[in-house]
């Protein structure tokens, strides 16, 4: 029992070490030649443009349901006019970055893990190394930069569409004034809110790409192993996003000051 526990701990520590080395090498590859710009552009298309429909839909309905729920609570205090402010703050600071990242993680962490996992179990990664190419430089770094870059802009779009979803509810169901909604939503935002909302996608993009690639490159045991790696990648990326979100929010609140 003690032996298996120590083995379990050792294997987890080893996994963290390997993940850290992979992440470090992926970042370091950014600063030296060769750079695979073509692969990076291709990944931007797959990750950014490919995720656009689900991110927009998620953002719109999140904003809409947020407006519905907050209006329901605010009506009890006769503060229905604050709907725009609350939707705006919630979307920009929290829900926009987190839900966009979870959507992109579900779609792309799994995609990266299955693609790289298939390459691993069919010896294509070894073949790449045998042909003199660094797989981290060729496969991981382009995915990392593409995810961070595109997630940043996807989050901005998600925030905007979420506010639009909220305004649709405010105008058509709550009979609020459109100008009042957008003015209060806009005026309540401070630079610190926007900074917090746009720093998070950078952190989450890093998690999505590195976790997806790590599980893909660690895949063993044929197609079953690839399936396992895919599931683990989505679960680990999602949990990490939520955990890092908490700590990042707390840290930024301390650094940027309270609300």
């Amino acid at each position: 029992m003690a032996f298996s526990l120590s083995e379990h701990v050792k294997s987890n520590v080893l996994a963290v070490q390997e993940y850290s080395i992979l992440s470090l090498r992926a970042v370091r590859s950014l600063f030296s030649q060769p750079r695979y710009l073509g692969d990076m552009m291709q990944q931007m298309d797959v990750i950014g443009v490919g995720s656009l429909p689900i991110v927009l839909l998620t953002g719109f309905f999140t904003g809409a349901v947020l407006a519905l729920q907050t209006a329901n609570s605010l009506a009890r205090f006769g503060a229905l006019s604050f709907t725009g402010q609350i939707v705006s703050m919630s979307m920009v600071r929290e829900l926009g970055p987190v839900l966009t990242s979870l959507m992109v993680a579900g779609r792309n962490s799994s995609g990266m893990a299955s693609e790289l996992g298939s390459m691993q179990v069919t010896e294509q990664i070894d073949a790449m190394r045998a042909l003199g190419t660094d797989p981290i430089r060729k496969l991981v770094t382009p995915r990392l930069t593409a995810t961070i870059f595109m997630l940043f802009f996807l989050t901005i779009l998600s925030d905007l569409v979420g506010l639009a979803g909220g305004s649709a509810i405010a105008v058509f169901l709550l009979r609020l004034d459109l100008n009042q909604y957008w003015t209060s939503a806009w005026q309540t935002l401070r630079y610190s809110d926007v900074f917090m909302g746009l720093l998070k996608p950078v952190l989450f993009g890093f998690i999505i790409a590195t976790v997806g690639c790590y599980y893909g490159l660690s895949a063993r045991g044929g197609t079953q192993g690839v399936g396992r790696a895919t599931t683990q990648a989505v679960v680990a990326a999602s949990v990490l996003i939520l955990a890092v979100d908490f700590f990042a929010t707390r840290l930024l609140m301390v650094l940027l000051g309270p609300l």
């Binding site: 060769p34 298939s118 390459m119 069919t122 010896e123 294509q124 070894d126 073949a127 790449m128 190394r129 045998a130 042909l131 003199g132 190419t133 660094d134």
Partner: protein, 283 residues
């Protein structure tokens, strides 16, 4: 062909002189996975222009020898030299340069399934940033060598097993490596296709004088390599007459329990009275 030697002379000339005539050297190499010992103090040498056929039962470490040569895995102890350069002392980053001068054919071909045949074969050249015209010319040449120049636009999934192996050979030889590593290139193929693959290996050996380590389970293929030569006039391989003084430079290395059990040429292997060797040859 001269690129590898150039690589040696660029940065590792002193060691290169010491190992002047040896393409690959294993010195007392030990390797184990978890508790299982795979190689236990293995030493052998491969001379320039020679072919060494690695034989042994499944799990005897034959494929590991090829991966060790490329530096894809690291030994627990011992030293490995390629072109006089100590692979075991190199960092992963340094190994990428060395690997560009070696060619490897993987057991399951390991072609990039998202790239066409043409792009697969061109891959090593694209890494060297050659011009498109030069790449196209050399891809056509390499695919013609394996008689598959009509498959450039196809994807690996559209090819048969034998064709995939031939494309893998084309990809391995396109950068003119001095050392080729073949991991069971004829495994799982029908006898006719298997002979076609071996003929390509013989052609590569005799036309380009490249050194090679060949892992195989098929003894008939191994003996075929040792007893045939490629005729450029007749465009196919021919058996070498028994009284000929022509040297195929093909030797055999039999592994058992992670150690070298036998090393010698085809005649010595065929004449061996050792019971294990007799069993291995007859089963």
């Amino acid at each position: 062909m001269s690129e590898a030697r150039h690589f040696v002379s660029e940065g590792h000339s002193a060691q290169g002189l010491v190992f002047n005539n040896r393409a690959v050297v294993f010195e007392n190499v030990c390797l184990s996975f978890d508790e299982q010992v795979v190689l236990d103090g293995l030493s052998f040498e491969l001379e320039h222009g020679a072919t060494k056929v690695l034989l042994g039962v499944a799990g005897s470490g034959k494929s590991s020898i090829l991966k060790l040569t490329l530096g894809l895995i690291r030994p627990d102890s011992g030293r490995i030299y390629v072109h006089g350069i100590e692979v075991t002392a190199m960092k992963e980053r340094e190994l990428f340069d060395l690997r560009r001068h070696l060619g490897m054919v993987f057991q399951e071909s390991a072609l990039f399934d998202s790239l066409t045949v043409g792009d697969n074969v061109a891959y090593p050249l694209r890494e060297e940033s050659l011009s498109d015209e030069e790449i196209e010319r050399r891809v056509t040449e390499a695919l013609r060598f394996v008689e598959l120049e009509h498959t450039t636009q196809l994807f690996p999934a559209e090819l048969s097993g034998g064709m995939r192996r031939r494309v893998a050979i084309a990809r391995a030889i396109i950068s003119n490596p001095e050392v080729l590593l073949y991991d069971s290139p004829s495994a799982g193929l029908d006898p006719v296709t298997s002979t076609t693959i071996i003929e390509l290996l013989v052609k590569q050996r005799d036309v380009y004088q490249s050194s090679a380590l060949l892992v195989t389970h098929r003894l008939q293929d191994a003996f075929l390599m040792a007893t045939h030569r490629y005729s450029q006039e007749q465009k196919h391989m021919l058996p070498v007459p028994p009284d000929s003084d022509w040297d195929s430079k093909t030797s055999f290395l039999v592994l058992k329990d992670g150690k070298k059990y036998f090393e010698g040429d085809a005649a010595k292997l065929a004449r061996s009275e050792n019971q294990y060797i007799r069993e291995y040859l007859t089963v």
